[in-house]
Amino acid sequence: MSGMRVQIAQAEKGVEFEFREEDLTNKSQLLLEMNPIHKKIPVLIHNGKPVCESLVAVQYVEEFWKDKSPLLPSDPYQRAQARFWADYVDKKIYDAGRRIWATKGEDQEVAKKDFTDCLKVLEGALGDKPYFGGEEFGYVDLALVPFYSWFYAYETCGNFSIEAECPKFIAWAKRCMERESVAKSLPDPHKVYGFVLELKKRVGI
């Protein structure tokens, strides 16, 4: 998930990158490796959990290549809004989505509602704009769109349609998917579903 955000960011900026996939299951410490001399992206690894600090990496990409396709607005208040919503995505979406495939019965019903409630809050923030960034794809769009590749898995596990609840959100996601930077970086939703089935087996659901 985290790698996708940085990949999209780098693709938006049109810069060369090297993406290293680390084995997330075998680490027991926090590691931050950065090597600006070779322009390698920072890889943050933590004992099997998703790397929420990917936004740190995205901001690094933004600031290091600051003259190419800015992802954040220039106005400080708009920037604060963008950071606030990207942080909201980090705090809410992963957990809410995870609970859909990791639970069943009544718990799952609650999880589905919590998830669509979060999406509706985001729809409110989006308003009538084509992107969270306004006319241009930006920081919040980038923080959020990788989760779209998990929607098929959530819908199948939860036996529901996200589009029925949040059509505006899906319209926004499809608009993002038309961008090459996004389409290239997101995995096939069916592959993600296969991965989720593995995860379910591991946790015994």
Partner: protein, 231 residues
């Protein structure tokens, strides 16, 4: 800028509320401090932060900014002519500062609040040990970020000093209540020195709550937390 142009909605015991206050002090920006009462969220708070309903909220003119670290960055970006800069200028150093600030909020602070939630002596000791493990990591981070200077931010306090230093009041209060030490000279010599310097910094000393006051407040909180079960 008139004082009423900038307001901070918060509460004196909250480390998160301290963050924007320190940042505003660093920029010599006058502000009005509006305090929330414990146990009752004001209409103003609910209106300005409908998503989380939490303090701090910065009110600049009529615009609210929420989330303490988002606010600190906003302050740094608005009052640019006031030196020094809160975030470092180099992108790599900025990334390090943001990474460790995220670690503090996402991992270390939850371990700190785990102490109050721990039931029984063994659980409490385990919770305390977890906090100390985190402090050892932060000692290493200090060496890397400070590059031999007094603060994480170098010669002056910066983003990471603010993100972490705001918890020192509470660390001292918990030390006092449990008769133990978190900042150990042997394990974290740099953090011990840094803590003294941070707490006496001119931007910090008037907003850092006194240890005794916090300990008293903690007792009130615990009584509320462990009060009679409610339905």
């Amino acid at each position: 800028m008139a004082k009423s142009e900038v307001k901070v909605l918060g509460a004196w015991p909250s480390p998160f509320v301290m963050r924007p206050r320190i940042a505003l002090n660093m920029k010599a920006v006058e502000y009005e401090f509006l305090q929330e009462q414990l146990g009752a969220k004001s209409d103003l708070l609910l209106k300005l932060n409908p998503v989380y309903k939490k303090i701090p909220v910065l009110i600049h003119g009529d615009k609210p900014v929420c989330e303490s670290l988002v606010i600190v960055q906003y302050i740094d970006e608005v009052w640019t002519s006031s030196a020094p800069s809160i975030l470092p200028s180099d992108p790599y150093d900025r990334a390090l500062a943001r990474f460790w600030a995220a670690y503090i909020d996402d991992k270390w602070f939850p371990s700190l609040s785990g102490i109050a939630k721990a039931q029984g002596e063994e659980a409490k000791k385990a919770a305390i040990d977890q906090v100390i493990e985190g402090l050892v990591l932060l000692e290493d981070a200090f060496v890397k970020c400070s590059k031999g200077k007094s603060f994480f931010g170098g010669d002056h306090i910066g983003y990471l000093d603010i993100a972490f230093g705001c918890f020192l009041g509470w660390l001292r209060a918990i030390e006092k209540m449990n008769n133990m030490k978190f900042l150990d000279e042997a394990k974290m010599p740099n953090l011990v020195k840094w803590a003294e310097k941070f707490c006496s910094d001119v931007a910090v000393k008037d907003v850092m709550p006194e240890t005794d006051k916090l300990a008293e407040f903690a007792k009130v909180l615990m009584a509320k937390f462990r009060g009679p079960p409610t339905n």
